[in-house]
Protein backbone atom coordinates (compact mmCIF):
# COMPACT_ATOMS: atom_id res chain seq x y z
CA UNK A 1 0.00 0.00 0.00
CA UNK A 2 1.34 3.42 -0.96
CA UNK A 3 1.47 5.70 2.07
CA UNK A 4 1.35 9.39 1.10
CA UNK A 5 3.46 12.01 2.89
CA UNK A 6 1.60 13.32 5.93
CA UNK A 7 1.86 16.63 7.75
CA UNK A 8 2.30 17.00 11.50
CA UNK A 9 -1.42 17.62 12.14
CA UNK A 10 -2.43 14.60 10.05
CA UNK A 11 -0.01 12.41 12.01
CA UNK A 12 -1.36 13.73 15.32
CA UNK A 13 -4.93 12.97 14.24
CA UNK A 14 -3.91 9.45 13.22
CA UNK A 15 -2.07 8.94 16.53
CA UNK A 16 -5.19 9.98 18.44
CA UNK A 17 -7.40 7.64 16.43
CA UNK A 18 -4.97 4.76 16.97
CA UNK A 19 -5.32 5.39 20.71
CA UNK A 20 -9.11 5.81 20.77
CA UNK A 21 -10.15 3.54 17.91
CA UNK A 22 -12.86 5.91 16.68
CA UNK A 23 -13.74 9.59 17.19
CA UNK A 24 -15.68 12.41 15.52
CA UNK A 25 -14.28 15.79 14.49
CA UNK A 26 -15.34 17.51 17.74
CA UNK A 27 -13.53 14.92 19.88
CA UNK A 28 -10.42 15.18 17.73
CA UNK A 29 -10.60 18.99 17.93
CA UNK A 30 -10.83 19.03 21.73
CA UNK A 31 -7.92 16.57 21.99
CA UNK A 32 -5.43 18.03 19.52
CA UNK A 33 -6.98 21.20 18.06
CA UNK A 34 -7.60 23.39 21.12
CA UNK A 35 -3.99 23.23 22.35
CA UNK A 36 -2.83 24.25 18.86
CA UNK A 37 -5.44 27.04 18.59
CA UNK A 38 -6.85 25.39 15.48
CA UNK A 39 -10.50 25.75 14.47
CA UNK A 40 -12.93 22.83 14.23
CA UNK A 41 -13.20 23.27 10.45
CA UNK A 42 -9.41 22.78 10.07
CA UNK A 43 -9.70 19.50 11.97
CA UNK A 44 -12.69 18.50 9.83
CA UNK A 45 -10.77 19.15 6.61
CA UNK A 46 -7.72 17.28 7.98
CA UNK A 47 -9.90 14.24 8.73
CA UNK A 48 -11.53 14.45 5.31
CA UNK A 49 -8.10 14.65 3.69
CA UNK A 50 -7.00 11.52 5.56
CA UNK A 51 -10.20 9.85 4.42
CA UNK A 52 -9.48 10.80 0.80
CA UNK A 53 -5.95 9.40 1.22
CA UNK A 54 -7.63 6.11 2.29
CA UNK A 55 -6.02 6.19 5.73
CA UNK A 56 -9.30 6.77 7.62
CA UNK A 57 -12.71 5.26 7.11
CA UNK A 58 -15.82 7.10 8.26
CA UNK A 59 -19.32 6.23 9.25
CA UNK A 60 -22.23 8.61 9.63
CA UNK A 61 -23.64 8.55 13.17
CA UNK A 62 -26.50 11.05 13.51
CA UNK A 63 -25.29 14.35 12.05
CA UNK A 64 -21.58 13.69 12.45
CA UNK A 65 -19.03 11.41 10.82
CA UNK A 66 -17.12 9.04 13.06
CA UNK A 67 -13.61 8.33 11.83
CA UNK A 68 -11.49 5.21 12.38
CA UNK A 69 -8.02 4.29 11.06
CA UNK A 70 -7.87 1.83 8.13
CA UNK A 71 -4.48 0.46 9.21
CA UNK A 72 -3.18 -0.26 12.68
CA UNK A 73 -0.13 1.72 13.86
CA UNK A 74 2.30 -1.18 13.27
CA UNK A 75 0.87 -1.87 9.79
CA UNK A 76 1.01 1.80 8.88
CA UNK A 77 4.65 2.12 10.00
CA UNK A 78 5.64 -1.05 8.13
CA UNK A 79 4.02 0.23 4.90
CA UNK A 80 5.60 3.69 5.32
CA UNK A 81 9.01 2.10 5.94
CA UNK A 82 8.67 -0.09 2.83
CA UNK A 83 7.71 2.99 0.77
CA UNK A 84 10.66 4.95 2.12
CA UNK A 85 13.11 2.15 1.26
CA UNK A 86 12.90 2.72 -2.50
CA UNK A 87 13.54 6.42 -1.94
CA UNK A 88 16.45 5.52 0.34
CA UNK A 89 18.06 3.47 -2.45
CA UNK A 90 17.84 6.45 -4.80
CA UNK A 91 19.28 8.74 -2.15
CA UNK A 92 22.09 6.27 -1.47
CA UNK A 93 23.05 6.16 -5.15
CA UNK A 94 23.25 9.96 -5.22
CA UNK A 95 25.32 9.99 -2.02
CA UNK A 96 22.68 11.85 0.04
CA UNK A 97 22.59 8.96 2.51
CA UNK A 98 25.24 7.08 4.47
CA UNK A 99 24.38 3.80 6.22
CA UNK A 100 26.33 2.17 9.06
CA UNK A 101 26.41 -1.00 6.96
CA UNK A 102 25.46 -0.88 3.27
CA UNK A 103 21.68 -1.32 3.06
CA UNK A 104 21.68 -2.85 -0.41
CA UNK A 105 24.67 -5.20 -0.32
CA UNK A 106 24.05 -8.79 0.74
CA UNK A 107 26.69 -10.43 2.87
CA UNK A 108 28.10 -13.94 2.82
CA UNK A 109 27.72 -15.38 6.31
CA UNK A 110 30.90 -17.48 6.19
CA UNK A 111 32.88 -14.37 5.26
CA UNK A 112 31.30 -12.56 8.18
CA UNK A 113 32.48 -15.45 10.37
CA UNK A 114 36.01 -14.96 8.99
CA UNK A 115 35.85 -11.24 9.79
CA UNK A 116 34.64 -12.03 13.28
CA UNK A 117 37.64 -14.34 13.73
CA UNK A 118 39.92 -11.38 12.87
CA UNK A 119 38.22 -9.40 15.66
CA UNK A 120 38.64 -12.36 18.03
CA UNK A 121 42.36 -12.60 17.22
CA UNK A 122 42.79 -8.85 17.80
CA UNK A 123 41.02 -9.21 21.15
CA UNK A 124 43.29 -12.13 22.14
CA UNK A 125 46.37 -10.13 21.09
CA UNK A 126 45.24 -7.22 23.21
CA UNK A 127 44.62 -9.42 26.26
CA UNK A 128 48.04 -11.07 25.83
CA UNK A 129 49.67 -7.61 25.88
CA UNK A 130 47.99 -6.70 29.20
Amino acid sequence: MKIPLLGELEMSALELLWQRGTADAKEVHSAIGVSRSITLSTIQSTLERLNRKRLLMRERVGHAYHYAPVLGRAEFRAHAMANALSDLRGADAAGVMAAFVDLVARTDRTKLDDLEKIIGRARDKRQARR
Partner: protein, 315 residues
Protein backbone atom coordinates in the same frame (compact mmCIF):
# COMPACT_ATOMS: atom_id res chain seq x y z
CA UNK B 1 32.31 32.06 -32.09
CA UNK B 2 31.18 34.04 -29.07
CA UNK B 3 33.01 34.15 -25.79
CA UNK B 4 30.87 31.70 -23.74
CA UNK B 5 31.24 28.60 -25.94
CA UNK B 6 34.93 29.41 -26.44
CA UNK B 7 35.52 29.45 -22.71
CA UNK B 8 33.49 26.25 -22.20
CA UNK B 9 35.43 24.57 -25.01
CA UNK B 10 38.82 25.53 -23.59
CA UNK B 11 37.67 24.56 -20.10
CA UNK B 12 36.37 21.19 -21.37
CA UNK B 13 39.64 20.40 -23.15
CA UNK B 14 41.81 21.35 -20.17
CA UNK B 15 39.53 19.48 -17.74
CA UNK B 16 39.64 16.40 -19.99
CA UNK B 17 43.44 16.62 -20.25
CA UNK B 18 43.71 16.86 -16.45
CA UNK B 19 41.31 13.90 -16.13
CA UNK B 20 43.54 11.79 -18.37
CA UNK B 21 46.55 12.86 -16.32
CA UNK B 22 44.86 11.85 -13.07
CA UNK B 23 43.76 8.50 -14.50
CA UNK B 24 47.43 7.89 -15.42
CA UNK B 25 48.73 8.49 -11.91
CA UNK B 26 45.69 7.26 -9.99
CA UNK B 27 47.30 4.15 -8.52
CA UNK B 28 50.23 5.92 -6.78
CA UNK B 29 47.91 8.76 -5.74
CA UNK B 30 45.49 6.32 -4.10
CA UNK B 31 48.42 4.50 -2.45
CA UNK B 32 49.65 7.80 -0.98
CA UNK B 33 46.14 8.75 0.13
CA UNK B 34 45.71 5.35 1.83
CA UNK B 35 48.54 6.29 4.24
CA UNK B 36 46.62 9.30 5.53
CA UNK B 37 44.22 9.47 8.50
CA UNK B 38 40.63 8.91 7.26
CA UNK B 39 39.30 12.47 7.62
CA UNK B 40 42.36 13.94 5.87
CA UNK B 41 42.15 11.21 3.23
CA UNK B 42 38.53 12.16 2.48
CA UNK B 43 39.66 15.75 1.95
CA UNK B 44 42.52 14.53 -0.25
CA UNK B 45 40.22 12.38 -2.39
CA UNK B 46 37.79 15.31 -2.79
CA UNK B 47 40.72 17.44 -3.90
CA UNK B 48 41.78 14.81 -6.47
CA UNK B 49 38.16 14.57 -7.65
CA UNK B 50 38.04 18.35 -8.01
CA UNK B 51 41.55 18.66 -9.45
CA UNK B 52 40.47 18.56 -13.14
CA UNK B 53 38.12 21.47 -12.45
CA UNK B 54 40.78 23.41 -10.57
CA UNK B 55 43.42 22.74 -13.23
CA UNK B 56 40.94 23.50 -16.04
CA UNK B 57 39.81 26.75 -14.47
CA UNK B 58 43.36 27.85 -13.71
CA UNK B 59 44.51 27.14 -17.29
CA UNK B 60 41.42 28.80 -18.80
CA UNK B 61 41.92 31.82 -16.56
CA UNK B 62 45.58 32.00 -17.56
CA UNK B 63 44.70 31.74 -21.26
CA UNK B 64 41.98 34.38 -20.92
CA UNK B 65 44.12 36.51 -18.67
CA UNK B 66 46.54 36.96 -21.51
CA UNK B 67 43.94 39.08 -23.28
CA UNK B 68 44.26 41.57 -20.43
CA UNK B 69 48.05 41.46 -20.49
CA UNK B 70 48.12 42.03 -24.27
CA UNK B 71 45.70 44.92 -23.92
CA UNK B 72 47.74 46.54 -21.13
CA UNK B 73 50.83 46.16 -23.31
CA UNK B 74 48.95 47.73 -26.21
CA UNK B 75 49.23 44.63 -28.35
CA UNK B 76 46.18 43.99 -30.51
CA UNK B 77 46.97 40.55 -31.83
CA UNK B 78 45.36 38.51 -34.56
CA UNK B 79 42.63 36.95 -32.42
CA UNK B 80 39.92 39.22 -33.83
CA UNK B 81 38.24 36.40 -35.72
CA UNK B 82 38.54 33.56 -33.25
CA UNK B 83 36.38 35.33 -30.69
CA UNK B 84 38.34 33.94 -27.78
CA UNK B 85 39.63 37.38 -26.87
CA UNK B 86 37.71 39.08 -24.07
CA UNK B 87 37.62 42.36 -25.97
CA UNK B 88 37.13 41.23 -29.54
CA UNK B 89 34.27 38.76 -29.50
CA UNK B 90 33.28 37.77 -32.99
CA UNK B 91 29.78 36.65 -34.03
CA UNK B 92 28.13 33.48 -32.71
CA UNK B 93 28.51 30.02 -34.18
CA UNK B 94 26.09 27.13 -33.95
CA UNK B 95 28.95 24.62 -33.78
CA UNK B 96 30.47 26.42 -30.83
CA UNK B 97 27.26 26.17 -28.85
CA UNK B 98 26.75 22.53 -29.81
CA UNK B 99 30.27 21.62 -28.74
CA UNK B 100 29.88 23.59 -25.51
CA UNK B 101 26.61 21.75 -24.78
CA UNK B 102 28.20 18.36 -25.52
CA UNK B 103 31.09 19.24 -23.20
CA UNK B 104 28.68 20.21 -20.44
CA UNK B 105 26.42 17.15 -20.85
CA UNK B 106 28.20 14.81 -18.32
CA UNK B 107 27.94 17.57 -15.72
CA UNK B 108 24.29 18.13 -16.63
CA UNK B 109 23.61 14.41 -16.28
CA UNK B 110 25.33 14.31 -12.86
CA UNK B 111 23.43 17.37 -11.66
CA UNK B 112 20.10 15.83 -12.76
CA UNK B 113 20.91 12.56 -11.00
CA UNK B 114 21.94 14.43 -7.88
CA UNK B 115 18.78 16.55 -7.88
CA UNK B 116 16.71 13.33 -8.14
CA UNK B 117 18.61 11.83 -5.20
CA UNK B 118 18.11 14.97 -3.11
CA UNK B 119 14.40 14.93 -3.85
CA UNK B 120 14.09 11.27 -2.87
CA UNK B 121 16.15 11.87 0.28
CA UNK B 122 13.85 14.72 1.28
CA UNK B 123 10.76 12.56 0.66
CA UNK B 124 12.20 9.62 2.61
CA UNK B 125 13.30 11.87 5.47
CA UNK B 126 9.83 13.46 5.82
CA UNK B 127 8.12 10.04 5.62
CA UNK B 128 10.46 8.50 8.19
CA UNK B 129 10.12 11.42 10.59
CA UNK B 130 6.37 10.91 10.49
CA UNK B 131 6.68 7.36 11.83
CA UNK B 132 9.68 7.89 14.08
CA UNK B 133 10.16 8.40 17.77
CA UNK B 134 12.48 11.30 18.54
CA UNK B 135 15.66 10.23 20.34
CA UNK B 136 17.50 13.54 20.44
CA UNK B 137 18.83 16.38 18.32
CA UNK B 138 18.00 15.29 14.74
CA UNK B 139 18.08 11.64 15.82
CA UNK B 140 15.07 9.36 15.33
CA UNK B 141 14.05 5.78 16.10
CA UNK B 142 12.32 4.03 13.19
CA UNK B 143 10.99 0.54 12.49
CA UNK B 144 13.50 -1.87 10.96
CA UNK B 145 17.11 -2.88 11.30
CA UNK B 146 19.08 -0.15 9.59
CA UNK B 147 21.09 2.78 10.93
CA UNK B 148 21.79 5.66 8.58
CA UNK B 149 22.04 9.40 8.15
CA UNK B 150 20.11 11.13 5.39
CA UNK B 151 19.92 14.70 4.05
CA UNK B 152 22.56 17.18 2.97
CA UNK B 153 22.07 20.63 4.53
CA UNK B 154 20.58 19.46 7.80
CA UNK B 155 21.06 15.67 7.90
CA UNK B 156 19.03 13.47 10.26
CA UNK B 157 20.07 10.21 11.90
CA UNK B 158 17.67 7.25 11.85
CA UNK B 159 18.25 4.17 14.00
CA UNK B 160 16.25 0.95 13.58
CA UNK B 161 14.25 -0.32 16.55
CA UNK B 162 15.41 -3.87 15.90
CA UNK B 163 19.05 -2.83 16.37
CA UNK B 164 18.18 -1.15 19.65
CA UNK B 165 16.30 -4.25 20.79
CA UNK B 166 18.97 -6.82 19.86
CA UNK B 167 22.36 -5.14 20.21
CA UNK B 168 24.40 -4.58 23.39
CA UNK B 169 24.36 -1.00 24.76
CA UNK B 170 28.07 -0.56 23.87
CA UNK B 171 27.38 -1.52 20.23
CA UNK B 172 24.41 0.87 20.15
CA UNK B 173 26.59 3.66 21.56
CA UNK B 174 29.13 2.97 18.79
CA UNK B 175 26.46 3.06 16.07
CA UNK B 176 24.92 6.26 17.44
CA UNK B 177 28.33 7.96 17.71
CA UNK B 178 29.23 6.84 14.17
CA UNK B 179 26.03 8.20 12.62
CA UNK B 180 26.18 11.38 14.69
CA UNK B 181 29.72 11.87 13.35
CA UNK B 182 28.34 11.75 9.78
CA UNK B 183 25.65 14.25 10.76
CA UNK B 184 27.98 16.72 12.47
CA UNK B 185 30.57 16.64 9.67
CA UNK B 186 27.87 16.77 6.96
CA UNK B 187 29.47 13.76 5.28
CA UNK B 188 26.46 13.28 3.02
CA UNK B 189 27.30 16.66 1.45
CA UNK B 190 30.88 15.46 0.86
CA UNK B 191 29.55 12.24 -0.71
CA UNK B 192 27.24 14.22 -2.99
CA UNK B 193 30.01 16.61 -3.97
CA UNK B 194 32.31 13.68 -4.69
CA UNK B 195 29.76 12.10 -7.02
CA UNK B 196 29.18 15.41 -8.77
CA UNK B 197 32.91 16.04 -9.27
CA UNK B 198 33.42 12.47 -10.48
CA UNK B 199 31.20 13.18 -13.50
CA UNK B 200 34.17 14.41 -15.56
CA UNK B 201 36.53 11.57 -14.62
CA UNK B 202 37.03 8.42 -16.67
CA UNK B 203 34.52 5.78 -15.44
CA UNK B 204 37.05 3.46 -13.80
CA UNK B 205 38.89 6.30 -12.05
CA UNK B 206 35.57 7.84 -10.95
CA UNK B 207 34.46 4.53 -9.40
CA UNK B 208 37.75 4.08 -7.55
CA UNK B 209 37.81 7.66 -6.28
CA UNK B 210 34.17 7.62 -5.10
CA UNK B 211 34.71 4.24 -3.36
CA UNK B 212 37.83 5.63 -1.72
CA UNK B 213 35.93 8.74 -0.56
CA UNK B 214 33.08 6.65 0.88
CA UNK B 215 35.53 4.37 2.70
CA UNK B 216 37.47 7.33 4.12
CA UNK B 217 34.28 8.97 5.43
CA UNK B 218 33.09 5.70 6.99
CA UNK B 219 36.47 5.09 8.61
CA UNK B 220 36.60 8.67 9.93
CA UNK B 221 33.29 8.07 11.73
CA UNK B 222 34.48 4.62 12.90
CA UNK B 223 37.38 6.45 14.57
CA UNK B 224 34.94 8.89 16.20
CA UNK B 225 32.82 5.97 17.43
CA UNK B 226 35.96 4.22 18.75
CA UNK B 227 36.89 7.34 20.68
CA UNK B 228 33.37 7.53 22.14
CA UNK B 229 33.18 3.92 23.33
CA UNK B 230 36.96 3.82 23.92
CA UNK B 231 37.29 0.45 22.23
CA UNK B 232 37.95 -0.06 18.50
CA UNK B 233 36.92 -3.71 18.66
CA UNK B 234 33.45 -2.83 19.96
CA UNK B 235 32.91 -0.79 16.77
CA UNK B 236 34.23 -3.67 14.63
CA UNK B 237 31.90 -6.10 16.41
CA UNK B 238 28.96 -3.70 15.94
CA UNK B 239 29.65 -3.69 12.19
CA UNK B 240 29.50 -7.49 12.08
CA UNK B 241 26.37 -7.61 14.24
CA UNK B 242 24.51 -5.07 12.07
CA UNK B 243 25.59 -6.86 8.87
CA UNK B 244 24.21 -10.12 10.31
CA UNK B 245 20.93 -8.52 11.41
CA UNK B 246 20.43 -6.73 8.07
CA UNK B 247 21.22 -9.90 6.16
CA UNK B 248 18.56 -12.01 7.89
CA UNK B 249 16.19 -12.02 4.93
CA UNK B 250 12.83 -13.78 5.13
CA UNK B 251 13.64 -15.99 2.14
CA UNK B 252 16.79 -17.26 3.87
CA UNK B 253 18.94 -16.84 0.75
CA UNK B 254 22.67 -16.41 1.09
CA UNK B 255 25.10 -14.66 -1.24
CA UNK B 256 28.80 -15.14 -1.87
CA UNK B 257 29.89 -11.60 -1.14
CA UNK B 258 30.97 -9.22 1.53
CA UNK B 259 31.01 -5.46 0.89
CA UNK B 260 34.64 -4.39 0.32
CA UNK B 261 34.19 -1.40 2.60
CA UNK B 262 33.07 -3.63 5.49
CA UNK B 263 36.20 -5.80 5.33
CA UNK B 264 38.47 -2.74 4.98
CA UNK B 265 36.80 -1.01 7.94
CA UNK B 266 37.10 -4.08 10.17
CA UNK B 267 40.76 -4.55 9.16
CA UNK B 268 41.50 -0.92 10.02
CA UNK B 269 39.71 -1.17 13.37
CA UNK B 270 41.59 -4.35 14.27
CA UNK B 271 45.03 -2.98 13.38
CA UNK B 272 46.93 -0.60 15.62
CA UNK B 273 49.06 0.94 12.86
CA UNK B 274 48.56 4.71 12.73
CA UNK B 275 48.47 6.39 9.32
CA UNK B 276 51.75 8.13 8.50
CA UNK B 277 51.00 11.41 6.69
CA UNK B 278 49.34 14.07 8.79
CA UNK B 279 48.82 17.26 6.73
CA UNK B 280 48.18 16.32 3.12
CA UNK B 281 45.62 18.95 2.16
CA UNK B 282 47.90 21.90 2.75
CA UNK B 283 50.58 20.27 0.57
CA UNK B 284 48.07 19.55 -2.20
CA UNK B 285 46.59 23.06 -2.16
CA UNK B 286 50.13 24.48 -2.19
CA UNK B 287 51.05 22.27 -5.15
CA UNK B 288 47.96 23.36 -7.11
CA UNK B 289 48.63 27.03 -6.37
CA UNK B 290 52.27 26.64 -7.45
CA UNK B 291 51.06 24.93 -10.63
CA UNK B 292 48.75 27.85 -11.41
CA UNK B 293 51.46 30.45 -10.86
CA UNK B 294 53.98 28.44 -12.88
CA UNK B 295 51.48 27.96 -15.72
CA UNK B 296 50.74 31.68 -15.71
CA UNK B 297 54.35 32.79 -15.69
CA UNK B 298 55.87 30.23 -17.99
CA UNK B 299 53.22 29.38 -20.51
CA UNK B 300 50.55 32.10 -20.45
CA UNK B 301 51.17 33.35 -23.99
CA UNK B 302 51.59 29.86 -25.42
CA UNK B 303 48.42 28.74 -23.66
CA UNK B 304 46.54 31.71 -25.09
CA UNK B 305 47.80 30.89 -28.59
CA UNK B 306 46.95 27.19 -28.11
CA UNK B 307 43.44 28.12 -27.01
CA UNK B 308 43.05 30.34 -30.08
CA UNK B 309 44.28 27.53 -32.33
CA UNK B 310 41.82 25.13 -30.70
CA UNK B 311 38.87 27.48 -31.15
CA UNK B 312 39.88 28.14 -34.79
CA UNK B 313 40.23 24.41 -35.44
CA UNK B 314 36.74 23.71 -34.14
CA UNK B 315 35.10 26.63 -35.94
Amino acid sequence: MSLFPSVVLVLAVTVFAATLGIAGVLRPVLRTLARMPPRARAGGVLLVLGAPWIVGMVLTAVALGHCWIDRVRGLQDDCVRCGFCLFQSAGGSRWGWLIALAALSPVGFAVTRLAGGMLRARRASVALRGISERLGDNMHLIPGRAAFVIGWLSPSVFIGEELRRTLAPASMAAITAHEDGHRKHRDTFARMLGRLLSAVHLPRAALQLVASLDLALEQACDELASATVQDRLVVAQALIDVARIQDTQPDGRDCQCVPATLAARIDALCSDAAPAIARPRLAMVGALFAFGVAAGLAGGHQLHRAAEALVRFVT
